[in-house]
């Protein structure tokens, strides 16, 4: 069965999985000197992770996760904590770093990187023990079927990771579920694409908000972001988001209450 996504962006059926890792890093845009991370895996990164499981080539899956053809709900399953980790890096810019020569003009001469100097400290903000539930539906039949088969078999084509390749993620398949639309303003476990002003305050519950890439497309030998979402969530996994917004609909998937986007 392949999902159909209605005009409110809610699918009739979806695949549910949970990803976990010791560390995670989803770099925010607008930073080079420092590397801050989003708290929640961006939708585009989740798409990349699922494409890695399926084995879809680079730049091939953006349309699959495009507007109207896909629905993704992301739910933090652990408290969101981060810390700064300094790392020492050696530059890889061939113009700047490859300065050593070996050999002579008569024999072969090679240029190689001088790794004894120019080390720089890079501070990475990393997430500690990130865990997310992903409920996903795509109308692309072969992608959906391949993904289900991989999830059922517990296999993946490329290793899934939490933002950086060294932060390998484990994937747990939670099954294929029917999706049911819920009445308005139901409290929601997943991140919710609304502005902070549309949330309903709850005693003892802190809301956070971040703006991360949601949809991208192939463009001139690369890719570009075509939509970013403001996302509200709570730093504590057990808290949920209450909101009052038109055009944002809650749905129930198995035992979770989520908003697809």
């Amino acid at each position: 069965m392949t999902p159909t996504i209605d005009s409110d962006g809610i699918p009739d059926v979806c695949l549910s999985l949970e990803i976990r890792a010791d560390w995670g890093h989803f770099k925010k845009y607008g930073r080079t000197a420092t590397k801050q991370t989003f708290d929640v895996i961006p939708r585009t990164t989740a798409a990349g992770l699922l494409a890695a499981i399926v084995g879809a080539p680079r730049d091939s899956y953006y349309e699959t996760f495009g507007e109207g053809q896909s629905a993704v709900a992301i739910t933090p399953m652990a408290d969101l904590r981060s810390l700064n980790i300094p790392t020492t890096g050696v530059g890889t810019d061939p113009d700047a770093a490859a300065s050593q020569r070996a050999g002579s003009r008569r024999s072969r001469s090679i240029m190689y990187q001088d790794t004894t100097q120019h080390r720089q400290i890079h501070n990475y903000e990393v997430l500690i023990n990130p865990a997310y539930r992903i409920d996903v539906a795509v109308e692309n039949e072969s992608f959906y079927t391949d993904l289900r088969q991989h999830l059922e078999a517990g296999t993946s084509t490329y290793p899934p990771s939490m933002g950086l390749s060294e932060y390998l993620a484990s994937v747990e398949y939670l099954g294929e579920h029917q999706v049911e639309r819920l009445p308005e303003s139901e409290p929601v476990d997943s991140v919710v694409p609304v502005p902070l002003a549309d949330t309903i305050p709850q005693p003892g519950v802190a809301y956070r908000v971040e703006r991360s890439p949601a949809i991208m497309e192939q463009h001139a030998g690369g890719r570009r972001t075509t939509r970013l979402d403001d996302l509200v969530y709570t730093p504590h996994a057990e808290d949920s988001v209450r909101f009052d917004a038109e055009n944002v609909h809650a749905a129930s998937v198995d035992d979770a209450t989520v908003v697809f986007r």
């Binding site: 000197a33 890889t92 890079h122």
Partner: protein, 707 residues
């Protein structure tokens, strides 16, 4: 707030903030501040007329080119006039913030400190030639999407682009000038306005300054926009492409090297970000030239919000979560504009802005006011230590109230002498009875916002060393309402103990007092995880102790004090922590006795500093303390067979399990022990104090009765 204000903001919001999003990420804040800055000035998005404020009464040099002449190249002239406020607009300046860069407008600005005729002519007049050479400038007449009046710029570049002519102009200029003064140089052209397509001034043949020529404005905008796409990329490479702007969400031409007010983004050091392709950077940081220009405009306002203290800078950037209206923009601008960076060191901007808005726009302040907090070390090496958005004053105030309640509560009664004189000890010296509730709350809140609250108990950090200052991370967590872990606090407390311990004197008991005040306040405010509540049980009311029975017997006073101090979940629920605390108390009391009654040079607490104590060391310290307490009691003809039986009895109960079998963590044990030592050191002095008070109360009572 005048109507003119609001109208100007309305215009700016209409022009640049139509999307109506509330800020979320740092670029949103920067762009929104840019909108405020545009609304507040007459300059518009690209111009920077206010940069000439320091040049008034200096001179402006006008290179006059008569385009009605058949040979403009030979019809130029130079005039020099005094720069006054009313001419500034005509010059249409747009300054390039890069020191050595050519200004974006044809008007070039000289040095702020003034130039000699020679340096002005050679440096700034010749920049006119550079300006004429830029592709982005020339695109108004060379490219397909040129400007209908591009011919004006073309004619000007024909004249000024010629090195020989420009040299002659520079020579003439130099001769006309005298002395050192602040100067700018601009270009005026004479033409028949009926030849212009894009023009809305008075008609006729006349001299026009850049402001009167929309095509000059267009050339300036193109040059400024270009600069945001080619900065630091090198060569003639450029980073620009079509995409969606991250701030306003609309499709536009994106520029890859936008202004970065905090210095967090640059393509200058590619090894800083492996895999960053400089010419593709617009994909990584999708902002349009307009948004990039707003960032630049925002700089002065952003800078207003900084609090620099102890090697770190904390930006507290206020914003509203709802839709930005002209009224809100005006209120926000006024609040930010009134900040003073020097004053911010003492009065944290987050407090100042909140109080200001609470007074002038209370509803807005309560419902929509939030802060984006950004903490970095001061210096060129940019590094974000902590960052949070959507922060309010709520948690700071809750914590401030908890701090005041703690200091006025049983742990610090009577008169806070439990841990020694409070004077000159941060936290402890906060006046809990003084100048009125609002002032007290503000004082306590200020300590939290300044970081003084955290500094009081935490390990000291070297301000010269670049790196994470965890104290500032802790500040952020508290303001955002995220609890700190008790284990982290104990580690900090013992590191600080090490900072303070000099090996010859005991660590002042006020330090343990401050740390207890901090821990108990955090516990009251729900901001510490991993330990039972620190505040004393509700039944413990030391202040009433004297009223109940007014004991005047030192031993009784001591015992009651100890009993009530122990009556808190922190020391009741965990027998091991209680044991470590009591061990500290005994060692502290014996040490006081050694120092004051026996003239011992190195009392026991100096030989068993808390930051190094282990479970085994603790057992040994207790053994030694017990031996001493026995010997002293015998030698000094004490009534009982041991000093301080009230401690000894409880301690022996607590030590039924061998400390070496305890599961209490090292730092937890050490902190409990250090707290005990500080409490024990003060046990006798405080008891004397209370006896003194009670005795005088007694005599007053007797005197009253006699009346």
């Amino acid at each position: 707030m005048s109507d003119v204000d609001v109208e100007a903001f309305e215009q700016a919001i209409g022009d640049f903030w139509e999307h109506g999003r509330a800020p979320v990420e740092l670029p949103d804040i920067m762009a929104m501040y840019g909108v405020l800055a545009v609304g507040a000035s007459d300059d518009g998005l690209f111009r920077t007329g206010s940069t000439l404020d320091d040049y008034l009464d200096g001179e402006y040099v006008t290179v006059r080119i008569d385009l009605t002449d058949d040979d403009p190249a030979s019809s130029w002239d130079v005039t020099v006039d005094t720069l006054t406020k009313d001419i500034v607009e005509a010059l249409a300046v747009s300054k390039n913030p890069a020191g050595k860069g050519r200004d974006y407008s044809i008007t070039q600005i000289g040095s702020k400190t003034g130039n000699s005729p020679d340096s002005f002519a050679n440096t700034y007049v010749s920049r006119l030639g550079d300006w004429c050479g830029y592709d982005s400038v020339r695109s108004v007449f060379e490219s397909d999407d040129g400007h209908p009046d591009g011919w004006v710029v073309e004619a000007v570049t024909d004249v000024l682009g010629d090195d020989e002519t420009l040299d002659e102009i520079a020579d003439v200029t130099e001769e006309l000038l005298a002395g050192t003064a602040e100067r700018v140089v601009t270009v005026a052209v004479r033409l028949d306005t009926s030849d212009l397509e894009d023009y809305d001034g008075p008609d006729g043949v006349q001299w026009l300054y850049p402001d009167g020529l929309p095509v000059m404005n267009e050339a300036m905008r193109r040059y400024a926009g270009e600069n945001m796409a080619d900065k630091n990329i090198g060569g003639s490479r450029i980073s620009r492409g079509p995409g969606v702007d991250a701030v306003n969400g609309s499709e536009d031409t994106l520029v890859g090297t936008p202004q970065s007010p905090f210095g967090l983004f640059s393509v200058k050091h590619p090894d800083n970000q492996p895999s960053l392709d400089r010419t593709q950077s617009w994909r990584n940081y999708p902002v349009s030239a307009e948004t990039a220009m707003l960032f630049k405009k925002a700089e002065d306002l952003l800078e207003k919000t900084v609090m620099r203290r102890g090697g770190m800078e904390v930006y507290a950037l206020p914003y509203f979560t709802g839709e930005l209206t002209p009224e809100k923009a005006s209120a926000l601008y006024r609040a930010i504009q009134s900040l003073d960076v020097e004053q911010n060191k003492k009065e944290p901007p987050m407090g100042v802005v909140t109080y200001d808005l609470e007074e002038y726009a209370p509803e807005l302040a309560e419902q929509e006011l939030r802060y984006y907090l950004l903490t970095m070390p001061i210096g060129d090496d940019k590094h974000v230590v902590a960052e949070s958005n959507a922060v309010t004053m709520y948690h700071a105030r809750q914590l401030a109230d908890a701090l005041l309640a703690t200091l006025a509560g049983p742990s610090f009664a009577p008169a806070r002498s439990n841990f020694g004189a409070p004077t000159n000890w941060p936290l402890l010296e906060i006046d809990t009875e003084g100048p009125g509730e609002t002032a007290r709350r503000r004082r306590a809140t200020k300590d939290i916002l300044l970081g003084a609250f955290i500094d009081a108990g935490f390990q000291r950090r070297d301000t010269d060393k670049v790196g994470d200052d965890f104290r500032r991370v802790a500040d952020h967590r508290l303001l955002a309402g995220e609890p700190l872990r008790a284990e982290t606090l104990f580690e900090e407390y013992m590191q600080r103990f090490s900072d303070e311990f000099d090996g010859t004197d005991p660590v002042p008991s006020q330090l343990a007092g401050m740390q207890l005040a901090q821990l108990e306040s955090l516990s009251r405010a729900g901001l510490v995880d991993g330990i039972p509540p620190v505040e004393p049980a509700p039944t413990t009311e030391w202040t009433t102790m004297t009223e109940q029975s007014e004991p005047t017997d030192i031993d009784t006073i001591r015992e009651r004090r100890l009993e009530s101090f122990l009556d808190r979940p922190l020391l009741q629920e965990d027998p091991e922590r209680r044991g470590a605390f009591l061990a500290g108390v005994l060692v502290g009391q014996v040490s006081w006795y050694q120092e004051n009654e026996r003239n011992v040079g190195r009392p026991l607490d100096i030989r068993t500093p808390a930051d190094e104590i282990t479970a085994r060391g603790l057992s040994q310290a207790v053994r030694t303390a017990l031996e001493k307490a026995k010997i002293y009691a015998a030698e000094d003809d004490y009534s009982s067979d041991i000093l301080y039986p009230e401690v000894v009895d409880r301690l022996l109960d607590a030590l039924e399990a061998d400390p070496e079998d305890w599961t209490l963590s090292k730092r937890d044990l050490q902190f409990a022990y250090s707290l005990g030592q500080a409490f024990g050191r003060r046990a006798m002095p405080v008891a004397f104090e209370i006896r003194g008070q009670n005795t005088s109360t007694e005599s007053e009572v007797t005197a009253d009765a006699a009346d």
